[in-house]
Symmetry: C2
Subunit: 204 residues, 2 copies
C-alpha cells in the first residue's frame, strides 16, 4: 500500500522505502490505479481525488490528543510519529510542534525559507538575496546578505532552542536537512509524517 501526504505545493508519496515528490497531476496520473491512503491539506483538490476509487482519505483518522480543530492534518500526522519530541516541518511554511507523553502541547508557525527570502525581496531590491546556508551563527554578521541569512536562521534556531528543553528534535520537509544542520543531535527523516500515518492506522 502507498501512503500520500498532499501538501500545499506537492504530492509526497511513500512506498515503505522512499519518498517521491510529484506535482498533483503527475501523482494522479502515475498512481490512480494503485491502492493508496492519503492525508490532504489541499481541500479544493478533493473533488477530483474522491473520484479515484482505489484511494482512501484517512485524514479523519489522524487523531491527536490535545490538537486543535483547524490544525493541519500533516502536522497531526508528524506529531503522531513519536510520543515525545519537538517536531519541525520545514516546507512552504515551517511548523514547530511539541509532544509530551503522547499529548500535543502546542506549537507555532514560521514562514518557509523561500517565503522569508521572498518577503525581504518584496520590501526592497537591496534585500533581494539568496540564502547563505553556511552562515556562521557564532559571529554577528556585517554584510546585508549575511544579515538576512543570519536573521532567518538564527531567529528560527533561537526560538526552537528555547523550546527544546532536552527533547529530541525531529526535522522533516524540503528544507528540514538544511535547518537540522544548525542543531546538535537533530534527527532529519523525510518519512516522519508517513510513520505518523502508519501509527494512526495501527492503533485504530
Amino acid at each position: 500500500m502507498l501512503l500520500a501526504d498532499i501538501g500545499n505545493t506537492h504530492f509526497h508519496i511513500y512506498d515503505g522505502k522512499k519518498v517521491e515528490h510529484l506535482t498533483y497531476d503527475d501523482a494522479i496520473e502515475k498512481y490512480r490505479e494503485n491502492e493508496l491512503c492519503y492525508i490532504s491539506v489541499k481541500h479544493h483538490l478533493e473533488v477530483k481525488i474522491e473520484k479515484i476509487k482505489s484511494w482512501k482519505n484517512i485524514s479523519k483518522e489522524m487523531i491527536l490528543e490535545g490538537a486543535y480543530d483547524t490544525m493541519g492534518v500533516d502536522r497531526k500526522a508528524l506529531c503522531l510519529s513519536h510520543k515525545d519530541g519537538l517536531f519541525v516541518d520545514a516546507g512552504s511554511a515551517i511548523t514547530v510542534d511539541i509532544m509530551e507523553d503522547g499529548v500535543y502541547r502546542g506549537g507555532f508557525i514560521l514562514p518557509g525559507l523561500k517565503a522569508y527570502l521572498e518577503s525581504y525581496r518584496s520590501i526592497s531590491s537591496v534585500l533581494d538575496m539568496d540564502l547563505n546556508d553556511k552562515i556562521s551563527l557564532s559571529t554577528l554578521p556585517t554584510t546585508t546578505k549575511d544579515g538576512i541569512s543570519y536573521g532567518i536562521i538564527a531567529s528560527i534556531k533561537a526560538l526552537i532552542d528555547k523550546h527544546s528543553n532536552g527533547k529530541k528534535l525531529y526535522f522533516t520537509g524540503g528544507d528540514g536537512q538544511l535547518l537540522a544542520n544548525f542543531f546538535d543531535d537533530a534527527i532529519y527523516n523525510e518519512t516522519l509524517v508517513f510513520h505518523g500515518m502508519l501509527r494512526a492506522l495501527e492503533t485504530k
Copy 2:
C-alpha cells in the same frame, strides 16, 4: 532646521519636537522652501530631490566606525544616537544592530511585521491572519492565528534576547512600540535616527 529620514515607504521629518510621516510627494510639496538636511535610502528619488536648493543630503556624513559599505544610512544614523546599546528599527524591515564603545559590532535583518504577515498569506489562505499583538509568550499557542503571531513575535524576541547581554534596548520605527512592549525596560523613541543625525553633524 528640519531633519528628514527618507525611508522605503515614507518621508519622516523632525522639527526638533515631533516627527511627521509623509508621502514623498507631500513632503516635497510641503517643505521645498524650508532649510532641511536629509539622509535617504531611496536612491531613485535623488534626481528629483537634488534640484531642491534648500535641501542638503548629509548621508555621507553618517560615519560609523565598524560599519560596512552597503549598510543603510538610516541604520548608521540610528547607531550613532548612542555609543552603546542594541538598536531595533521596526519598519518595512526590522534591523537589529549592536554598538559597543562607539563602534558598530554587526547586526541582522528580519522582515517587517507587515511583510511577515504577507509572507504567511502568500503560502496559503489558511495562514492569512492579522497579528495578535497581545499574544502571550509564556504559553505555547494552540490555534493557527496565535501560532503565527507567536512565531513572528517570539522568534524576533528570542534572537534579540540572545544578543542583549545587559545592553540597553532602543526601539524605533512604525512597529517599534508594539515590539518594545514585549521586552522589559525597552526604550521606544521615534526620534533616535534624528538624534544620530544631529550627533554626526555636531562631531564633524
